[in-house]
Symmetry: C2
Amino acid sequence: MTAGQSVSPAQGAAGDRSNRQLAWAYLSRVVLGPCPALTALIESVGVVEAARAVRERELPQVLQAPTAARRAEDRAARDMEIIGGLGGRLVTPDDPEWPAWRMLGLSQLPPGRDPDGAVPLVFWVRGTRDLTELTERALAVVGARCSTGYGDRAAGTLAGDLAARGWTIVSGAAFGIDGMAHRAALAVGGATIAVLACGVDRPYPAQHDRLLDRIAETGLVVSEYPPGTTARKHHFLARNRLIAALSDGVLVVEAGMRSGARNTVKWARRIGRPAMAVPGSVESAASAGCHRMVRDGEAVLVSSVEEVLADAAPLHLPSAGAAEPPAVHQLTAAQSSLYAALPATGGRWPHELCAPTGLAIAEVRAGLAALDMVGLAGSAGSGWFRLRSGPRTPGV
Amino acid sequence: MTAGQSVSPAQGAAGDRSNRQLAWAYLSRVVLGPCPALTALIESVGVVEAARAVRERELPQVLQAPTAARRAEDRAARDMEIIGGLGGRLVTPDDPEWPAWRMLGLSQLPPGRDPDGAVPLVFWVRGTRDLTELTERALAVVGARCSTGYGDRAAGTLAGDLAARGWTIVSGAAFGIDGMAHRAALAVGGATIAVLACGVDRPYPAQHDRLLDRIAETGLVVSEYPPGTTARKHHFLARNRLIAALSDGVLVVEAGMRSGARNTVKWARRIGRPAMAVPGSVESAASAGCHRMVRDGEAVLVSSVEEVLADAAPLHLPSAGAAEPPAVHQLTAAQSSLYAALPATGGRWPHELCAPTGLAIAEVRAGLAALDMVGLAGSAGSGWFRLRSGPRTPGV
């Protein structure tokens, strides 16, 4: 069976899920990266019907070109075998594990301005941890491939301390700072996620083969590209947006003037994540990019874990005050109680909202997403807070 | 003859000047530092009459306490001999050399909030250069006494490059960064000014005896305290405001968390001078104050002379556009032509305004001060620009 073929009702839910998974896998290989037009089609007609439409070229003009090269290439079943053989899986928007609230920033970018900025179609994942749970409290630690001993020490100290405090370290598995950040998290028994610009079956760089295996054992290795995909230059730029999106903030430890870390910071800023940079010697080219970003106001200077957490995780207590949502919105009971539990200033973590609302974490996330959509909640760093939208009423 | 005694008209202009100088010298020792109430009295009745009033206790209540301890101590003639013996002089607001336009920032601080922030009564000066000319283009380079090799190199490179480009280096003659900044300026044959917290006849620190001699040979050693005054803790804080006021910007190279350089930056910010800080290793306590100031927005991060000059000396060309001052102000011909020569955006140096206006530099400075007083000119960094104040007229 191939993706996009119909299944009889008798095949039941399991067959239906398998069918959808095959459709996602097929489409992931067709577009090899984000494709806002395809995402829109899937949201409109469902993934199985979208896969059929792609295969049979029954497509709007905007989707003809992006699907032309590989629409006949259906390796979905084989890809699912490969990822299964790696102890991994395909995570799609159909799955409870899909990190929907982490993708909100990307989903709100102006459409069309930069197709690479769109929400990914899927995540191909190596490892056993739940992607959404593991990114509940996560910080990206990235930087120069040609790092110095100073940068390596700083990355190791900061990432190790953050991981020891329960923060998941997200990075790109590159030489230099990225590798140090992953290793520091592993060394303290912490969690770490490597986001790759190639298929998760291809260790990149090859010398990080064993490092990636170790990351998959206790954390996750993820990619939006199907197995076997080789890393191309634009994949790295698109990958950087996922490092930013999966994190509460981006910390750059060392960066040359043309470092890819500055691209990750650009994404962080576009989707509202705090960007931070570690200073260094003005005599070191490996710190020049950090200094430039601080000077230009693109990143905040940080020297310690305390400063990182002050920027990326403002743990303010909820303030007193009116907690009734504006009457113009029709909210569910869960959304209303969530709204009431949100602080008007500062921010609260989703997991902190479970107790006061009595909601499960998944319900909290769904509720926050709904409140965000109607403009009643916002997030800065990882803190969620209450907003008052709708027509102003006297005295408000 | 002592200060405050009357002179007969027959003694003429020279005697009159000498009399005023003695009065300034006497009052400088009485108050030992800035004294806004005394400055106001001098502006009101003249310095000779003010000296007589102090000596004879014919004073408003506010001036009784500040003058009580040393009003009987008249060593003015001896102080003038000492400063003369050092090849120096007393510079007072009566003198063309008085850096009036450099003092504008201090004169505009809220009175009474911090008496130490007031305009100094006088400058005791060692050296032959003109104080106002030497501070025409000046940058303060200050920092930690316990500097590191890295900080010493950075201070040497930056101060040396600035001095070689014609900038006067202003600093406090302390161990560490201050000393390096002075030496770097001297090494390239540049100009440098040491502002002391004690009398200019007292080398402080004592080990910088020869360094201060060398500074006086080609630059200036200045203090608001009379000869013989020993440095006290609050003198250093008051001294720091003069380092900021005599400069177009303050550059901190290294600073611990409790460094006096942060105090100098505070003064720079209060009087509208740009403050800059050089980053360094997060492992170095000597850079912690710099990082804190950058992080808190108190100073801009700079890594190079180019960045220092971009912040402290925005050399913009005057823009085209209407150059008539608002008719509500009664300006002299010189002030009008100066107003016309000022750019509406960006800034121009006083010395750049001589050619377009045909005014002497002293007239330019006086005119800028007058325009500043009526809100028709302002300065940012060292650039002066045109403002439009008074009632708005249609179409403006």
